[in-house]
């Protein structure tokens, strides 16, 4: 097991003098999560842990039991008569907007006359306890006229049913290039979806305010959006809604838009009853009624030369969006933006279809379409390698973007300015001992009839920025008190990723005070308004910059004040290690200066603001510079596969990730490891299965299997790329780390295919849809054995 980078310990008398020079908890230190001690002691309060106001009601939703159809009648009399019930709400109770679609309309708060998916909320009931509300919600008598339902992407495509128009990115004449290429392949792949499976389910507590407004405590990645939606639904000004969001027990995209509905329902009932109302979904209903990572069908047609160099690619990516647009337009765009992954496509036609199905509306999940686009092109890479008989790593390396030969522009026109991957892959190839292991594995596979090993190295190049330009902004609010203690607030939300820790480190560094002096406080819409969701790996990039801006403002005021007060120049005032050096014999503690400044009527509170420069994108032309920069990494995974059962283990993983100048190496490594394992789950054991009636059958952790502790690879080496500060002016030249490493897990899937391909001496590329459950692996083994047998028979016959 690998050692963490050295952790700077907090104050202590036995510290080396050199260390005493530094503040504790500045950037680049492996500081612990700001809530770590409260996490382990159970003291960290999640929304459901808060003490509720007297008289709080508990609300629950009644869910549709068909996939598609007309609601002929809905009789709630038994619901109302049930024990403990105080109130019910339906669509008719909504004074304002009935649609809470985040970008485009299409998401009614409750079913509006017709059912859009199995599990759609029809109404809500408030009762005196959670159990009574849940029981009552099951008592509705609903008559439906069932309609035929499209449950699969193929059905939706056949019906030409889309939630948004299809879109194409084009470079050159891909069709001609493919037709003229020496070699050509085409295939189809099914890419499964994924349940976010945040450990803390959806929960909101709405408290009515005296002015008719709402104060909402919730688990939500986008406080500003839920604030706006509550206002619209209740037909009140946004200013009358306050959202308080301290921490989430995981979000992963599943609380970017899909937390809104429950907050709105709680608010509706709070408004109607005048009492605080909590909505908390039971796990099975949470999994049924909220959106997931989109499943995709990818179809490709690729032309390449005898060495495997791509000449043209035609790929269509068809996403199963569910019943409404939600964020699908941007998600499918991001899949298309990543259909090149790290590879130069001389000509390309990339088409994205937003297929409508009569299922829950799929939504954001870490990677936001990127993983699906990337696994689609990595499938192409493996298939090309088998076709030309080369190690897939060599084909991948040859196809990488590079500074020479005009191979540095993406199919959407953005120039790759920094070519990090060639060197990074070279380094990982060495440290993981790829070539030697490749030989050892070949020998192992020749000697073993049942078990086979597989190995793969796959890279990641992930674009950083919201593709919706206006979201690339952030705000912060910083208060310094007269004892020198500091309250920090910003628009980003803490879901475990360590955002609050990193932003506090940034402020500590700017003001040169120990991080322990800084209290990160709950994200609140009354402190920092008009914020963006914490998503797109942008939390630290945006909010860290905004907080730095606020800290710089206060620092400047204090500097100017000190210079004037002590009759010196601003240039001579220096903040360092909890002290402010004004002149040679004039040193104040930070708190003393704060007190002095207050007495002299200097404002010690400041807002900060940031917007990302340089980015633009013309979607009509599908050309532009949508990403501020790219985050890069690569992983080598090794697997052991049982060819009798399809069971497998991931035995060793080596990762090298470029996080720029890391703000906190320990937290960054935590993000990388966690993302990798989460991605591994997506591609291996996490299988979503719907019945023919449209009901989600894998609706609990008993039936939907995320990785458990034994799935962690026995050897798991994670390293950060050294000496690679972001050349862009990001916060302390760091790089985003939330999403990119998830896609490192594609190496697991590729390694599984490698192990299976060994059964045909690496001459065939087994089709392996995801998730690659043991059953799918065995099916791939069956088919590759069948083809090999057939080939041998043919050879024998000829």
């Amino acid at each position: 097991m690998r050692n963490l980078p050295e952790t700077s310990t907090p104050t202590g008398t036995d510290q080396q003098p050199i260390k005493r020079e530094q503040i504790s908890g500045g950037v680049q230190q492996s500081v612990r999560h700001e809530s770590a001690e409260r996490h382990v002691s159970g003291e960290a309060l999640f929304t459901d842990d808060r003490a509720v106001p007297a008289g709080t009601l508990f609300a629950y939703v009644g869910l549709a039991s068909i996939a598609r159809g007309k609601i002929l009648s809905m009789d709630l009399s038994r619901v109302l008569a049930a024990e403990g019930v105080v109130s019910v709400v339906t669509l008719e109770d909504i004074p304002g907007h009935r649609d809470i679609g985040p970008v485009f309309p299409g998401d009614p708060v409750f079913a509006d006359g017709e059912v859009l998916f199995h599990g759609q909320p029809l109404f809500a009931v408030a009762a005196t306890s959670q159990t009574l509300a849940r029981r009552a919600a099951r008592l509705a008598q609903v008559d439906y006229e069932p309609w035929p339902a499209d449950l699969t992407i193929e059905q939706g495509l056949a019906a030409q049913s889309f939630v948004r128009p299809s879109h194409t990115q084009r470079r050159g004449d891909a069709a001609a290039a493919i037709a003229g290429a020496p070699r050509r392949l085409s295939d189809r792949m099914h890419i499964g979806g994924q349940e976010q499976m945040y450990l803390e389910g959806q929960v909101s507590l709405a408290c009515p305010d005296e002015e008719g407004g709402i104060t909402l405590y919730t688990s939500n990645q986008n406080p500003t959006e839920v604030q706006k939606l509550i206002a619209e639904v209740l037909a009140i000004p946004i200013s009358m809604v306050t959202v308080d969001m301290r921490r989430m027990g995981g979000g992963f995209g599943g609380k970017e838009t899909n937390a809104n509905q429950w907050a709105v329902i709680a608010s509706l009932l709070a408004r109607k009853t005048g009492r605080a109302v909590k909505v908390r979904l039971a796990r099975a209903d949470d999994m049924t009624a909220t959106g997931k990572r989109h499943h995709f069908v990818s179809d490709y047609d690729v032309g390449f030369d005898d060495q495997g160099l791509i000449q043209g690619l035609d790929m269509s990516l068809s996403a199963g969006c569910g019943y409404s647009p939600d964020l699908s337009d941007a998600i499918v765009d991001r899949a298309m933006f990543h259909a090149d992954n790290a590879y130069f496509l001389p000509t390309a036609t990339i088409t994205g279809h937003r297929v409508k199905t009569d299922t829950v509306s799929n939504t954001a999940f870490r990677g936001f379409g990127g993983p699906q686009g990337m696994v689609a092109i990595e499938c192409v890479m493996d298939d090309i390698a088998r076709a030309v008989g080369r190690d897939p790593l060599d084909v991948r390396k040859d196809n990488l973007y590079g500074p020479e030969g005009g191979r540095d522009t993406t199919h959407y026109g953005q120039t790759i300015e920094r070519h990090i991957l060639p060197g990074l892959i070279e380094q990982l190839e060495q440290t993981s001992d790829y070539r030697q292991r490749r030989q050892d594995i070949a020998a192992f596979n020749r000697s073993q009839p049942i078990l086979r090993k597989g190995l793969a190295l796959t890279p990641v190049k992930f674009g950083i920025s919201f593709t919706a330009q206006h979201l690339n902004q952030a705000g912060a609010l910083l208060h310094v008190y007269t004892d020198g203690s500091i309250q920090l607030n910003h628009g980003g939300t803490e879901m475990g990723q360590g955002l609050f820790t990193k932003v506090a480190q940034i402020v500590a560094t700017v003001l040169q005070v120990d991080m322990a002096r800084i209290l990160p406080t709950a994200t609140r819409t009354d402190k920092v308004p008009n914020t963006s969701p914490t998503a797109a790996s942008s939390g630290t990039d945006l909010n860290g910059m905004a907080a730095r801006n606020a800290a710089e403002t206060i620092k400047q005021r204090l500097t100017d004040f000190a210079a004037e007060h002590f009759q010196t120049t601003s240039e001579r005032v220096r903040f360092h290690n909890n002290r402010v050096y004004i002149a040679e014999d004039q040193v104040l503690s930070f708190g003393e200066l704060a007190q002095l400044a207050y007495l002299h009527r200097i404002s010690l509170s400041a807002t900060g603001y940031y917007r990302t420069p340089k980015i633009y994108y013309d979607r009509e032309q599908a050309q532009g510079h949508p990403f501020f920069y790219y985050a890069n990494g690569a992983a080598v995974s090794e697997v052991l596969v049982d060819t009798l059962t399809g069971e497998y283990r991931v035995t060793r993983v080596d990762i090298l990730q470029d996080v720029g100048q890391s703000l906190n190496p320990a937290l960054d490594i935590g993000q990388i490891e966690g993302a990798y394992i989460q991605g591994m789950g997506w591609l291996t054991t996490e299988e979503l299965v719907w019945g023919g009636d449209g009901r989600l059958q894998t609706n609990s952790p008993a039936s939907y299997k995320i990785p458990a502790i034994g799935d962690t690879p026995a050897e798991f080496n994670v390293a950060l790329l050294a000496d690679s500060p972001n050349v862009e002016a990001t916060i302390f030249h760091s790089k985003a780390v939330g999403e990119p490493p998830l896609m490192l897990s594609i190496s697991v899937w590729s390694a599984l295919r490698d192990a299976i391909a060994s059964l045909a001496d690496y001459q065939l590329s087994p089709r392996l849809d995801t998730p690659a459950t043991p059953e799918r692996v065995l099916n791939a083994i069956n088919s590759i054995k069948a083809i090999t047998t057939l080939q041998q028979q043919n050879r024998g016959a000829s």
């Binding site: 002691s41 306890s129 039971a282 475990g496």
Partner: protein
């Protein structure tokens, strides 16, 4: 809904237990309430979290201490599926208790130091599983033991590596606190628990529901006559789902976990006798001592918490088609001791399962013990479980094979499968194909073909019919490989060679 039957005793119904070192007496509480709901909603102890309410995620894990002579033995449990009454006479330790003043417990400090928490929601559950591991071991255990202890705790953030590191680091002497209340106060707590554990019935009533925990088999038989509609509950790992998922009310619960005759494990010259209410971790060592080949199955059955709570009687009594113990016990030729008010009888296990969730139990009858024959010389046992995930998953197929080989000829064979039909049952055609044959390719091919006549499995979200059949057939190939070359250089199991 019928009125709950008249109570049998005149004393005030109440349960007593230690909660974080202090005695707690509960008189008027609905026995359908789970321990987690009691902690969170009644006591506002919100450190334990609800992640699933089905015993699958471990966020609600607490430590339950039980008297073991003059000591208290702690085990991890899922409070979300534990009926409140089950903690009577025990010491429940929740995450709130571990931190003493400002001093974190070593399990907590190691988690902090190793960056073992990200969102923090699963963390209290991990800490409690680590706490129990820390009491069971004196020095850092190996990776396998750590995984076995923590397999029932899901984390969606970290990828587990730092938690595995914390499980090692918590044994660092530098982290040990000067004072450990669990040692210092143990003698005091033992006395309190002893005073709570008397031989009478324990009862709890509230919300119109009733809970009785008898101390003897005879009394249990009597209660079943008195409450014919009562449901038996042992660990509650399956029954509690009716409460938390289906939102059922159960009028009368009778708890088997205090019944003297049902909680022990004993051995005779011919059999291992496992009390129906013995948990997996209670009878596991004795069973694996006789049959080391079932160790993997026992470690992959549910999770540590489930194995601490779940019982063999429950696994059999549920008559689920996917219970993991029945195929093993069928292959071993186990039988059941069934007790009613009037008589005790023995029944071979294969005659117990009648159909989907239907058994040969008669009214008023219950499983008192399971009788497992000792291995005969020359017997070879293999048990193979196939599931999507190795840990804490339900089998797509589970096959158990008991063979006697003489001069390389199969002289006795019992093959049983779970997950392949509405009940776990023997594969008689497959057995016939093997009997009297050497384990060669011809016989194995015939046995594989026979298996297709034995079973027509269903397709569901766990696996398709085709996969279930093919993988079960292929397990015969694995069996052949392993039995023919026991010191194999040929590798056959990914989870043994990874």
């Amino acid at each position: 809904m019928p009125e709950p039957a008249q109570r049998l005793t005149q004393t005030e119904p109440m349960i007593e237990f230690l909660l974080n070192g202090e005695p707690l007496r509960i008189t008027d509480e609905d026995p359908n309430c789970t321990l987690l709901d009691f902690l969170r909603d009644r006591l506002h102890h919100t450190g334990s979290k609800e992640g699933c309410a089905s015993g699958d995620c471990g966020a609600c894990t607490a430590a339950l201490g039980e008297l073991d002579g003059e000591t208290i033995h702690y085990k991890s449990i899922n409070t979300c599926i534990t009926p409140l009454g089950n903690v009577h006479g025990k010491h429940l330790v929740t995450v709130e208790e571990l931190k003493q003043g400002q001093q974190l417990h070593p399990a907590q400090q190691a988690m902090v130091d190793c960056h073992g928490s990200q969102c923090g929601f699963c963390t209290p559950g991990f800490v409690m599983s680590l706490f129990v591991l820390g009491r069971d071991e004196i020095s850092a255990p190996d990776r396998h033991r750590i995984e076995e202890s923590l397999g029932g705790n899901l984390c969606r953030c970290t990828g587990y590596r730092p938690i595995i590191e914390a499980a090692v680091q918590m044994f660092d002497p530098a982290l040990q606190a000067e004072r450990d209340p669990f040692t210092e106060r143990e003698a005091e707590w033992v006395k309190v628990l002893q005073s709570m554990n008397r031989d009478q019935d324990v009862e709890l009533s509230g919300g119109g529901h009733h809970y009785v925990a008898p101390a003897t088999s005879a009394r249990l038989a009597q209660l079943l006559q008195h409450y014919p509609a009562a449901r038996l509950v042992a660990g509650g790992t399956d029954l509690a789902l009716e409460l938390t998922q289906q939102l059922c009310s159960i009028d009368t619960l009778i708890y088997t976990g205090r019944v003297r005759e049902m909680i022990g494990v004993s051995e005779t010259d011919t059999h291992l006798i496992i009390g129906a209410a013995a948990s997996y971790n209670q009878f596991g060592p004795a069973l694996t001592a006789l049959y080391p080949e079932c160790r993997e199955l026992l470690e992959r059955l549910g999770s540590r918490q489930i194995r601490n709570q779940g019982t063999l009687g429950g696994n059999i009594g549920n008559a689920s088609p996917i219970g993991d113990m029945p195929p093993l016990l069928l292959a071993l030729g186990a039988s059941l001791r069934l007790r009613g008010a009037e008589r005790v009888r023995e029944l071979p296990l294969e005659q117990f399962f009648l159909g989907y969730k239907r058994t040969a139990l008669q009214a008023g009858e219950f499983i008192e013990a399971i009788l497992v024959p000792r291995p005969a010389p020359g017997d070879s046992l293999r048990v193979y479980k196939i599931s999507k995930r190795f840990e804490d998953d339900i089998s797509s197929s589970c096959g158990a094979f008991l063979l006697s080989l003489d001069q390389q000829i199969v002289t006795r064979v019992r093959v049983a499968f779970g997950g392949m039909d509405a009940i776990p049952r023997r594969a008689l055609e497959c057995e016939q194909a093997l009997l009297g044959k050497p384990l060669d390719d011809v016989a194995i091919a015939a046995a594989m073909a026979a298996l297709a006549r034995d079973f027509t499995p269903i397709s569901d979200f766990r696996a398709s019919s085709d996969y279930r059949l093919q993988v079960s057939q292929n397990l015969l190939k694995r069996l052949q490989l392993e039995l023919n070359s026991p010191s194999a250089t040929l590798l056959s199991r990914v989870n043994q060679h990874a």
